[in-house]
Amino acid sequence: MTYLEFEKPLAEIEGKAEELRALARKNAGMDVEKEAAALDKKAADLLRDLYKDLSPWRKCQVARHPDRPHCKDYIEALFTDYTPLAGDRNFADDHAIMGGLARLNDAPVVVIGHEKGNDTKTRIERNFGMARPEGYRKAIRLMDMADRFGLPVITLVDTPGAYPGKGAEERGQAEAIARSTQKCLEIGVPLISVIIGEGGSGGAVAFATANRVAMLEHSVYSVISPEGCASILWKDAEKMREAAEALRLTAQDLLKLGVIDRIIPEPTGGAQRGADTAIAAVGAEIATLLKQLSGKQPADLIRDRRQKYLKMGAKGLAA
């Protein structure tokens, strides 16, 4: 388990409990279980307290936690017959974007998502979940196919943002994102999006312009990273805590603003401390949302989605 900066006190307690138990294993007859159990309880209480009321900046850290389940974990656990479909038919296949046909509770769907990777090798291969134009163009192709064959689309969003690179710009990063958002608005099939970690700006919106958007409890969704915002508005990247606060990027604030429709609860201590529970909760939420949309006519799905975005911003937070 990787401990976050604010989890240091927890790491200490859990470390002590572990030390005690290791000592007892070496010296037979030594009874430490009572003390270790007390430490366990202390750690559990602390964990609950820490996660009860996470500040926006801490939520950003949790959303980026390396042990948090990623797109690949969700696809493997929730879908059957997952058949990746590769390439944008123009230039390349972008490994930052997973996508293809799959079955969810036996019903065929198209699933698309950002994959960040979980060790150095896969992170590089996945480009840390930062897509290039090819990734968005692959998604457009898959959404188009879903539309033609009447398959619902499920997108799993987890990206720091679209990749800011030379080639990406040359091949039309902005245009690819714009067209992907446009495609999201055009398809006559249910489109459900779940933000499972980081919803980074335009790179996220290109997949998350959906009939229903759900967010995991500790995930974030923002126009800019707190660090980026701090360096522009505060002229000091170290002011990310203030920026995270001001940007209102938590699931709780976004629900109030009407930007998202549902919050999916995470296990105590975040999805990284109970991947199976978090994944199951996401699966159940997707099934519920799909049910809400089933039987709707293509024209209605398109109209509802448009109306939803046209109306957005009508209510503020009234802080």
């Binding site: 990749y163 800011p164 990406a168 710009e169 245009e175 067209r179 919106v205 802080a319």
Partner: protein
Amino acid sequence: MNWISNYVRPKINSLFSRREVPENLWTKCPECGTMLFHRELADNLNVCTSCDHHMAISPRDRFVRLFDGGIFTEVAVPDPLPDPLGFRDQKKYPERLKAAQKATGEKEAMLVAEGEIGRTPIVAACQDFSFMAGSMGMYVGNAIIAAATRAVELKRPLVLFSAAGGARMQEGILSLMQMPRTTVAVQMLKEARLPYVVVLTHPTTGGVTASYAMLGDVQIAEPNALICFAGPRVIEQTIRETLPEGFQRAEYLLDHGMLDRVTHRKKLREDLIIVLRMLMHLPPPVAADLPAPKPVYVEPAPVDAAATPEAAPAETPKQA
């Protein structure tokens, strides 16, 4: 000698200096350094007469020089909720807005108008980089939706001049939501089979490029305009190498197939008239329709006059 210089000349000097050095009479071209007289510069549409560098031009000045006879009618834009997040960085967001309104004399970062160019009826929207870097928030979203709605109502094409540093961070996620919102506006035009022409001006970046500014039927850019998603500085920090000369400039994008045309500001009106008349199945323009209109004085909209005492018409060329 000394009594003259000490007693007479200072008075004479002060008389002259007051008249001779009012502010903004001369503008230095940021590209070649030539000093340009304000009238000459305005007559040349804020393009440097010596090196052709395209400087910023306010939406109001642009419209005066775009529409026939300099006549246009503003399209009303619904007011969004003010400061929806209660945003505060080093300054409060409403204070930043007020400062921008005072500095530009405009209400927000986009102006929408209807009128005719070369007797071709159009609706036009123009983004104002001098207003909080032209950033896209709820108001800009509302402006684009109002422009598209009006164009569909009147069955006219929409011409949009883009210029922005990206999304308005002070509106947080709601500024990001303008990407899908403005895309819906573009779809309204598409479904009504009306042309949507984007003129990308310096600079057009971030979420603006990644939504309505890249979705035009025809994409025209002004020479040397910076057009990108991620800015050059961000890219250099990420890939740690120096970018090639002209990277992300209009001509570079044209070479990479991202634009239809790069057009000099003085030729832009003609380009728009010719293209729009073909797309609208109108007869070819008559030569007499083409010359740029004589600049006429246009009464600026009464933008919260009390809050903005020094409103902008100073730069608007008056009737000769």
